[in-house]
Structures are given as C-alpha cells and as structure tokens.
C-alpha cells in the first residue's frame, strides 16, 4: 500500500475513528485502525470495539492499492504532531508501515488486515432519513439524562421508538427523564423499539457536527447504522426493554411557574457554589413574583438569590439537584421555561411550552 494524503484531512478522519478504539484492549487488533487505499483515490479508515464501528473514506493520492492496520492512538498522536500543511506519505510492506512527512519518518508495526473484525450488519429492514439538525436536537436534549448505572443497563442509552404517529426519543437515569418528539420520517413505520448505547450516541454527535443535509438511518432489532456522507457508524443496540416512561410524566401538576431560563440557571449556578461537592442540593421557595434560591452548607455557609418569576398558586418550597436542574435549563432555547409543580416530593415537569418538542421530568431532593 502506498498513499499520500494531506495532514489536515487525515487528522480529522483519525479524530473520528480513534475515539471508538478503547484505550485498553486484550485483543491487539482492536487497538488498531484499518487503513485501506483503493485505486479510485480514496483512503478508508475503520475502527471498532466490536460493539461500535466507524468506517470513513477520504480522498488520497494512491499509487499502490492495499490495506493494513496500525495502532490507532499512536498513529493519531503522530499525525497530530506533524507540521500543519504537510503531505503525509504512507507505505506499508512486510509487517511495517512507514509514515513520511517533511523530514520526519516513522516505522509502525502493523497487524494483518484480514484479522480486523467487522461487525456483521445483517439485514437492516427499517430505513429512513432524518435531517442532521433534527438528530442533533434529539441527542442534545436527551443525552444528559442517560444512566451510567450498570445494574439497569437498559437505561444506558437513548430509547428511540414510534408512538402516536411520531418519532420519540427518551432517556432517563431514574432521577430525571428527557423526551423529544419529532415528525415521524417516511419509512419509520413498524420500526422496532431500539436503545442506542451511550458510546454510539457520543460518536454520532461528534460526526454530526460536520454533516449538513440528512442522515440515513437503517436499523433492525439488534443493530443500527448511520450513513453520514463519507462516514458510516454501525452499532449494536442495547438488548433490553426500556420501561414504559409515560407513567412517570405527570399530567396533573397544577402549579405553574414561568421563569427566564437563563437568569434561573445563572442563579442556580451561583448559589450552588457553596454546596458541598456531593449533594449540590438547591432549595427553591416559589412566590407570586419570584423564586428564592438558597443553599445552606454546614461547612461553607449560606447563599441566597432571588430570581423574578410569575406564579399564581399557593407558595411552595422544593429542592433540586443543581446539576440536574442546570442540565435541563441549558437545553431550553426560548426566553421562558414552564415549571409544572405538584408538591415537594412529586415529579416536576419542565418544558418551553405545550407544543415544544422537548419535555423534561425531574424528581426533587428532600432538603
């Protein structure tokens, strides 16, 4: 294999594939990136952790077609440190790959291309297209609520399903829930309910930064594939049943608070400064024209801030984890957020308005 490629192009693409590669591997080939130069003038880069696989092609000047695999993180670090604007020459033969750029030369150990594992996609009967912007929105507004709790592995991803003739995405960690509802794309009818693992969500979001237009989504009950122009991301799905989350979305919270999400978030952030690291509980006293945020820390002292608001029901005191509250407020785009309250121990509903695509449920803290 012999190919020449511009450093910036190679670096960007390696940036995508190297993060799929786990830092620690017992199987050596999984530390490697597959490089495949073809005569049509393209270099294909591929990486996998056996659950998630990224496959990307970039243009390159190929003088000899061929394929090899080299350690992904080392190769990435080398290319990162090469001078800007340099042309990188890759040539592989006899178990080594030489990397030449300017006056620098590296000889990397390779492993045979044939040993590189590829995820068998199988049949992916459901196919639809989603605007990249919609997919970005789905991810941004739900991913923070994905659980890290391994004992409930089925919560460790974004749940994607069709209901009420809409496409819905939901994530929860048992303390908060985020749901986004979008138009059902053509072709999504009859799709199986799927749970997209967190790592796939993270890699997909990174790739989406560089995509305009649409993304091709193909899926079965066990795998999903995202076609993003030059890159294809394929992932196994979480094999589990996502709980019926509609049960925890309150429908009868009759106390409505309206508040500016930006000043609300800034106030929460400020008073939380003195909260002890672990709990970060913020107390909210809700009155007719304001919310009084306060934190009392036995070690640090007291912080209080008033934020203007509009509220027409009986006064209420309720506590929240500051981090959770800020995660949600960060995703509110307009200048008002609706906070639907019931009491200090009941699920609270947050949304921009009743026709906004995103909806959040947050459980309070007992303070």
């Amino acid at each position: 294999m012999k190919a020449t490629i511009e450093r910036a192009v190679l670096l960007k693409s390696l940036g995508h594939v190297q993060s799929v590669v786990e830092r620690r591997n017992t199987i050596p080939i999984l530390s490697n990136v597959l490089l495949e130069a073809s005569e049509e003038g393209s270099l294909r880069l591929m990486a996998t952790d056996l659950d998630l696989q990224v496959d990307e092609s970039v243009s390159a000047e190929v003088s000899q077609a061929g394929a090899t695999t080299v350690p992904a993180h080392t190769f990435f670090d080398i290319v990162r440190k090469l001078p800007e604007g340099s042309q990188v020459e890759l040539s592989a033969a006899d178990g080594k790959m030489q990397v030449n750029a300017g006056r620098a030369r590296f000889n990397l150990q390779t492993l045979p291309r044939d040993d590189f594992p590829v995820i068998a996609e199988g049949d992916l009967p459901t196919r639809f297209e989603l605007p990249a912007a919609t997919l970005r929105q789905i991810i941004d507004k739900t991913r923070f609520a994905i659980s890290n709790e391994e004992t409930r592995y089925y919560l460790m991803g974004i749940f994607l399903h069709v209901a009420d003739d809409k496409l819905k995405a939901a994530a929860t960690d048992g303390h908060r829930l985020a749901r986004v509802t979008v138009e059902k794309p053509e072709g999504a009818d009859g799709m199986p309910d799927i749970i997209i693992p967190k790592k796939c969500v993270g890699e997909l979001r990174k790739l989406l930064d560089e995509v305009e237009g649409t993304v091709e989504v193909s899926l079965s009950g066990s795998k999903v594939r995202f076609g993003l122009g030059a890159a294809v991301l394929t992932s196994k799905l979480i094999d589990g049943t996502f709980p019926d989350y509609n049960r925890v979305i309150p429908t009868a919270n009759d106390k409505l608070l309206r508040i500016d999400p930006k000043s609300f978030m800034a106030g929460v952030d400020r008073v939380a400064t003195i909260a002890s690291e672990k709990t970060r509980a913020v107390k909210m006293a809700v009155d007719s024209d304001k919310v009084t945020l306060s934190v009392t820390s036995p070690e640090n002292g007291v912080a209080v801030e008033e934020v203007p608001a509009s509220y027409g029901s009986d006064g209420l005191e309720i506590g929240f984890n500051a981090r959770y509250l800020m995660d949600i407020l960060h995703e509110i785009e307009g200048d008002t957020v609706e906070v639907h309250l019931a009491d200090a121990a009941a699920p609270t509903l947050l949304r921009e308005s009743d026709d906004s695509p995103a909806l959040y449920v947050l459980m309070p803290m007992r303070v």
């Binding site: 620690r24 890290n148 391994e150 004992t151 929860t172 048992g174 303390h175 459980m363 007992r366």
Partner: protein
C-alpha cells in the same frame, strides 16, 4: 528476640468468636444444638460457617455445599441471618469498648484490641481477656477464644491455639519459640500457594523459615520476603488501628492448571465470587466498584472494574457484573493462571444529607 527498644511493651488481644454464625444459629434454635450445622449453602453455594460438630466431618468454611454434604450426609444447612450476626457483633464490640478504644475489627466475629493501658487495673492482659470472654458468654450466650501477646501476628496465632472457648497467652520471651514450632501454612501472609512453594524449599515450620537469610527470602519471595524474615523471629510492629476502614474485600485463586476457555473461567469466577461475597457480607463491607483481576500464564496482570452509583448490595448483581467483565475480555489472548474478584470503593452512608428522590420507573 523481638526488638522492643523503640517501643514500650504492648499488650494485644485477638478475640475470635467460636464458629460464630453456626453458634448463633444453634443458640437461637435448640433443635440445632449438638448437630452438624452449616450456615450458607443453597444451590451452587458455599459454606459460610460450620459448627464444631460439622468440622469433625471435615466440613470447612468456603467449601462448596456439595462437597460438605458428601463429607457429612447429616449436615443441616441454615440460611444466614446477617442482621442477627451484625447485632451480636455490635454487642461484643461494646464489650471491647469497655476495656479499650483501640479496637480493630477484622470482620463481624474477630478483632484485635490493644489493652496496653489496662484501663480498669485488672493487672494483666490475660485477666482482661478472661473478663471479655466471660462478658461475651453472659451477654450473648456465645463463646469466644482469645490470644494474648505482644504483637498482632502472635496474638492471632495464639487465639487459635486453645479453641474453642480458650485463652492462650504468649509472653515476649516465648514468642520466637512459639513461632518456631508452628507450620508456616498457619502464618498470616502465607497462602496455600506460598506454603506449597515453601514446602518445596524445605521450609515447613517457623524454625525452618528463621534459618533463611533475608536476602535469600527476598530473592525467592520478593517484597514479602522481608515480612517472612521478621515474623519467623516473632517481630511484628503493626499497630492496632482503631480507625481502620476497609478499602476493599476480594478473593483470588490460582488454578491448578492454566485456563483459557470462557466456560471454565466463568465456572471458576462463579466459585470465587461465591466465596468473595461471603467475605464481603462477613466484613459487612459496602462498596460500589466491582473489580476483576486476571493474571495470565506469563504473569502479566490486568484488572477491569465497573462502578455503580451506590453500593452493590445483592450477590446476584455482584456475580453478574463479574461475569460481564469476564465476558468482555473474551476471546483471551493467553491462558489465565489466576482470577481475583471483589468489591472496592467503600460507600459511606450519609444519614441526614439531602436525599434525591427517584422516578417510579
């Protein structure tokens, strides 16, 4: 002779409850008295504790239930009641606290006490040990054995000497001779594999061990060599640490032959996990990180761990996470000689802090 120049004479007691779990069960259920009893067991389980009647048949703790049943067909299996064992453990710790604040619990049924102070002027450490044993008998209806000496290492060996319901005092002048006569396999820090290795080198007793120069022991046993050299001379300066908090509880096992098949390793992991969980419960340890250690045939070691949001409280979860960690290593690049499996990251309960409520999902 022990080096005492730097420190005044210490008086240390090791208290060990006699067949603790089994004795509690026999105390609370008269029909079990005089019969061979094993606490634990169940399907694929292991024996957590065996009564003295069961021990006569060769039933030991950590033995698979099936083996125990084979050795003693009349064995009665009883489900462990950890809340009761914990309550009794609190009772005996209160008795210890009457004599000293320097209490280092090793598990629910075992502790080191430093009674150098002789708070109530009983005159000797033996008298304090006898007082503690009498109070334990009066308040809990159970018996304990005590080892009394000038260091932890010998106190622990001594408590085993006149078991059950006995006391053994080893004064400093008798320490080295006491150690010299014992088989090395009983020494703290000498596990089954090290004992085998020592046997091969002709080291059977403390006296054999004492004959080896430090440099030779370090060459053969690495950093442990220094410890073996000292204990063979009856020297152990480790203090009784009252504030000791366990960082982890784990169990590991070296296999008779190196293994590579997933199925075999999964079986071994299950077995080690059962034992490890018994120890976690016995130590009353609450941790949130499950750790799997794999030592390959070439002695390279890898560890894999997974952390939960809170303490791992169920055996089924612990075992499942361990199997998950193992499955993720498949296929293995080389055969495995040892697996270790345990719980890390102690969880300290916050009692009055703010409480995050959960969605009913």
């Amino acid at each position: 002779m022990p080096d005492e120049s730097a420190h005044p004479q210490r008086k240390i007691i090791h208290i060990d409850m006699d067949a603790f779990f089994a004795s509690v069960e026999q105390r609370d259920d008269p029909s079990l008295r005089g019969r061979p009893v094993a606490v634990g067991g169940g399907h694929r389980g292991v024996v957590a504790a065996a009564s003295y009647e069961a021990r006569k048949f060769g039933v030991r703790s950590a033995m698979p239930s099936v083996t125990a049943r084979r050795r003693c067909p009349d064995l009665v299996f009883v489900k462990p009641r950890f809340e009761v064992y914990r309550a009794v453990s609190q009772q005996i710790r209160a008795i210890f606290a009457h004599h000293t604040d320097l209490i280092e619990p090793l598990s629910l049924d075992e502790a080191y006490l430093d009674v150098s102070e002789d708070r109530h002027g009983l005159g000797s450490a033996r008298a304090i040990a006898e007082d503690i044993r009498a109070r334990i008998r009066a308040e809990t209806g159970l018996t304990a054995s005590a080892g009394v000496s000038y260091c932890k290492f010998i106190a622990k060996l001594a408590s085993d000497q006149n078991k059950p319901d006995g006391t053994c005092v080893i004064p400093p002048s008798k320490g080295p001779a006491f150690v010299a006569a014992l088989p090395v396999s009983r020494f703290h820090g000498v596990g089954p594999k090290t004992a085998q290795k020592m046997e091969r080198l002709g080291i059977h007793t403390g006296a054999d061990l004492a004959a080896w120069p430090l440099a030779e022991l370090e060459a053969r046993f690495g950093s442990s060599g220094r410890w073996y050299h000292r204990i063979a001379r009856g020297i152990d300066d480790r203090p009784v640490r009252a504030s000791r908090q366990r960082k982890s509880v784990s169990t590991e096992d070296t296999f008779g032959e190196d293994l590579i098949a997933h199925e075999r390793l999964a079986e071994e992991l299950q077995r080690i996990g059962e034992r490890s969980w018994e120890r976690i419960e016995k130590a009353d340890f609450r941790g949130r990180t499950v750790t799997l250690k794999v030592k390959f045939a070439d002695f390279t070691i890898i560890t894999r761990s997974r952390s939960m949001a809170g303490a791992v409280g169920k055996k089924a979860d612990f075992l499942r996470i361990g199997q998950d960690l193992l499955a993720q290593l498949m296929p293995l690049p080389k055969p495995v000689r040892l697996l270790g499996f345990g719980l890390h990251s102690p969880v300290v309960e916050e009692e009055d802090g703010p409480l995050q409520l959960g969605l009913e999902i």
